[in-house]
């Protein structure tokens, strides 16, 4: 009954450019002719806490947040963060993980350890997992800060959206001197 609304969940850590990435993704979906809603919580985001952004698109979207077991793609910008949101995935949902570790205070203080078996753990619950090193590809494109655009490139390979929409939106989302870096970052992600 619940029509054809698709849900993408972007997750990671404040400062990784997740809100910008979800803005771009939403705009692309609007360009592609869909109704779009997206939601996140601002405020504490710049201060190193968890950040999530839900993007939902379809013919008519009601809720800006997805319910559990309703997310088609989990785009995880930080390795360990992936594990917090697995319950949101559909059983045939996909996960794209950026292979980067950002330490929370307890790990910095030496009180906890960064989990070593994140991928094994995720594989227990999800069949389709793709791992990328977005920062490495972003450096290759010319700026480490374009890692979020690399992630969008990887995501684009899993969505059936004309690449022209992506390019149009990317060209209009950055100041002129950063357009090439971001287009390159996007394409490196798309072909990764």
């Amino acid at each position: 009954m619940n029509n054809t609304t698709k849900s993408i969940l972007l997750a990671g850590v404040g400062g990784q450019g997740i809100l910008r990435a979800s803005d771009i993704l939403s705009w692309v979906m609007m360009e592609a002719g869909y109704d779009v809603k997206k939601s996140e919580v601002h405020g504490m985001a710049q201060r190193g806490g968890c950040v999530t952004s839900h993007v939902r698109y379809g013919e008519k979207v009601y809720s800006p947040i997805a319910k559990k077991e309703d997310v088609d793609v989990l785009l995880s910008f930080e390795k360990m963060e992936t594990l917090r949101y697995l319950d949101y995935l559909k059983h045939d949902g996909r996960v794209i993980i950026n292979d980067v570790e950002i330490y929370p205070p307890s790990i910095n203080l030496g009180e906890a350890e960064y989990p070593k078996t994140v991928f094994d753990e995720a594989r227990k619950h999800v069949d389709s997992i793709k791992v990328v090193k977005a920062e490495d590809l972003a450096v290759k494109a010319g700026n480490v800060k374009a890692a979020n655009t690399v992630m969008l490139g990887v995501l684009s390979g899993h969505l059936n959206i004309d690449v022209a929409h992506w390019e149009h939106v990317l060209r209009n989302s950055f100041p002129p001197k950063l357009i090439k870096v971001n287009l390159d970052a996007f394409n490196l992600g798309r072909t990764a």
Binding site: S26, W27, K37, M44, R47, D70, L86, D87, N108, P115
Partner: protein, 599 residues
């Protein structure tokens, strides 16, 4: 033209499109962007007032002068503005007056979860509640029309999810309105002495009765009849959550949540077999609908706390619990927000934590220093409370409290509601040490200007408040200014002032690290020499996100142990380090130095 807009952007756009040219506000998540966005439109006046009470009074004045005025605040801001609120309900307005309250179910960035629909009923003011960005833009226009038609202030209620979600909005052109401003003397209506207020009191009841009639046919109170088995009465984003999970049910969607349309509700209930009320927080609609004699199901199945989502609604209505998180074979470390690298609060609170004093705190980024390892805040209630609480503790503890109680407050927060409390420490003399954490901006809500920054919301240069001169003018004899990024100075001055009789004011001044990163020419990060670091972990006691612990066995190079017990070293991430030098000041082994870049 269509555009993706947040609820906040859409409210600003709607206000602009319907010819609003006046806005006053105090920043507060999730409301802040409404005023910021509005201030950028051509031909409008917008200000950050020192607090929400002043913002409302400014708005009342503008409306009395005949203009359309929008006043914006977060839910707890309405508490501050409550005094004028309850009486402007009596006077009514001249030009339209709309008060936006942005509530925060789930307390994403607030100290409580109060449901401000209660204020609408309490103060006898109509309230509209949009469910997405398009409605937010429409409803702000309807709110101004209602305000002028019924001569009343009107509430527009948003919640975090409406304010911060983005959805597609159709833009329209600006409707240019004639200049409606003038001075009108109408003392019977606007001088609220008892004799006049008693008369206006009756007008309020007449107005609410008229609004009840209006609500029956108001276009945004609408029935969607589908499956007659289940009827849902709801408003705001809960409509979308429920519609997402149960698109085939019948709905009564209320665009106006105060006053309620009694006949329409009874009519809807008569057309469906079972009625559910879906609402976050208080049973505000439910209790009133039950009082109408309509049998509904509500809070016996829905939570009282936290925001909803389609899963919460589905689970409550079907009785099937939501999927629980999958079993992970290890605990996932928590990731709480933290003070930024280079944050000047870190120096101050490191010192306060070590002094073992009771720190009465306030609302701002510095509240985050209550956590390990700083543990530098012991109480937080609301904006401005820190100084009064410290003063009260001082008097209660008498000699036992001497030198042991400090009140800390941010620069913007001090201006908001700390000035009169500081005066109180002088008037009713106590030994309270008040510290203004002056980071030159309203940091937590995203770097808004305030009266001590010397710049207005719309970028005009203005007179800059001098905290030291203000303290002296209030009668504080001990006024000190410190740099919190200098630990020795901070420690010395705090000890001296704690030992002093009578009230003291310490101005702890250094710009916010985020402000600095925008203006500083170059930032020289630090690094820790692994061959000098003894693994004493003193630098880790700062809780800086840039400093982490590396175990010796995990290193890909060999480090000679400086002590038998040493099992690791501190590592500073040069991409995060802001070069504040606090860790360098703490290090007893000269291990921490500036990064020297190769030519």
């Amino acid at each position: 033209m269509k555009q993706l807009m947040s609820g906040n952007q859409a409210i600003a756009r709607g206000a602009y499109e319907c010819g609003v040219t006046f806005a006053s506000a105090y920043p507060g998540t999730p409301s802040t962007e409404i005023t910021e966005e509005f201030s950028k439109y051509d031909g409008v006046y917008a200000e950050w007032s020192p607090n929400e009470k002043i913002a409302l009074e400014v708005g009342i004045g503008a409306a009395l002068a005949g203009t359309r005025a929008m006043v914006v605040m977060k839910h707890v801001g309405v508490n501050v503005a409550a005094d004028p609120l309850f009486t402007v309900s009596y006077t009514g307005t001249n030009g339209g007056l709309v008060i936006i309250t942005a509530d925060d179910p789930s307390l994403h960035s607030s100290q409580n979860e109060q449901d401000n629909r209660n204020y609408a009923k309490f103060a006898k003011i109509p309230m509209l509640e949009p469910s997405d960005s398009q409605e937010a833009k429409e409803y702000i226009k309807l709110a101004f029309e209602l305000s002028e038609k019924f001569d009343t202030p009107v509430f527009l209620r948003s919640t975090t999810r409406v304010s911060h979600s983005k959805s597609v909005v159709t833009l329209e052109d600006l409707v240019i309105r004639d200049n409606t401003t003038s001075i009108q003397h109408n003392r019977d209506k606007y001088v609220m002495v008892p004799a006049k207020a008693r008369i206006r009191r009756l007008e309020v009841e007449k107005r609410m009765n008229a609004l009840k009639q209006f609500a029956e046919t108001f276009s945004e109170n609408r029935i969607e009849l589908n499956d007659p088995k289940v009827g849902i009465i709801t408003a705001g984003l809960c409509y979308n959550y429920t519609k997402d999970a149960f698109p085939h049910y019948s709905y009564l969607k209320l665009g106006m949540v105060n006053p309620l349309p009694v006949t329409l509700i009874r009519e809807f209930a008569s057309k469906v077999e079972k009625v559910y009320v879906v609402e976050e927080l208080d049973p505000f609609l439910e209790e009133q609908i039950r009082a109408m004699g309509v049998d509904v199901i509500g809070k016996e199945i829905f939570p009282f706390t936290n925001e909803f989502n389609p899963g919460v609604v589905e689970s409550a209505l079907t009785g099937v619990p939501e999927k629980s998180s999958p079993e992970i074979s290890f605990p996932i470390p928590q990731r709480p927000p933290n003070l930024c690298p280079g944050c000047p609060h870190r120096g101050l609170f490191h010192v306060l934590g070590r002094l073992k004093v009771f720190v009465s705190g306030d609302i701002g980024c510095y509240t985050l220093s209550f956590m390990k390892p700083l543990e530098g805040i012991d109480a937080t209630i609301c904006m401005g409370a820190s100084i009064g609480m410290a003063h009260g503790m001082n008097h209660a503890l008498k000699e036992n409290g001497k030198g042991k109680v400090v009140g800390v407050i941010g620069d913007s927060t001090f201006i908001h509601s700390g000035i009169t409390s500081l005066l109180n420490t002088v008037y009713n003399r106590s030994d309270t040490v008040t510290v203004i954490c002056d980071n030159r901006t309203t940091a937590m809500t995203g770097m808004q200007d305030h009266p001590a920054t010397g710049t207005t919301l719309q970028g005009k240069v203005t007179k800059e408040l001098d905290f030291a001169a203000l303290g002296q003018a209030l009668g504080v004899e001990h006024v000190r200014v410190i740099n919190p990024l200098n630990l020795k100075e901070t420690r010395t001055v705090m000890k001296e002032e704690l030992a002093t009789d009578g009230p003291s004011l310490v101005i702890s001044r250094a710009p916010c690290a985020l402000l600095q990163s925008k203006t500083a020419e170059t930032i020289v990060p630090l690094w820790s020499d692994p061959h000098k670091c003894t693994g004493c972990k003193l630098c880790l006691s700062l809780g800086c996100p840039a400093i982490s612990w590396k175990r010796l066995e995990d290193l890909d190079f060999t480090v000679e142990k400086k002590t038998k017990k040493q099992d690791g070293i501190a590592y500073i991430d040069p991409t995060l380090c802001n070069g504040c030098t606090l860790c360098q000041q703490l290090c007893n082994f000269e291990a921490i130095q500036e990064v020297q870049y190769d030519e």
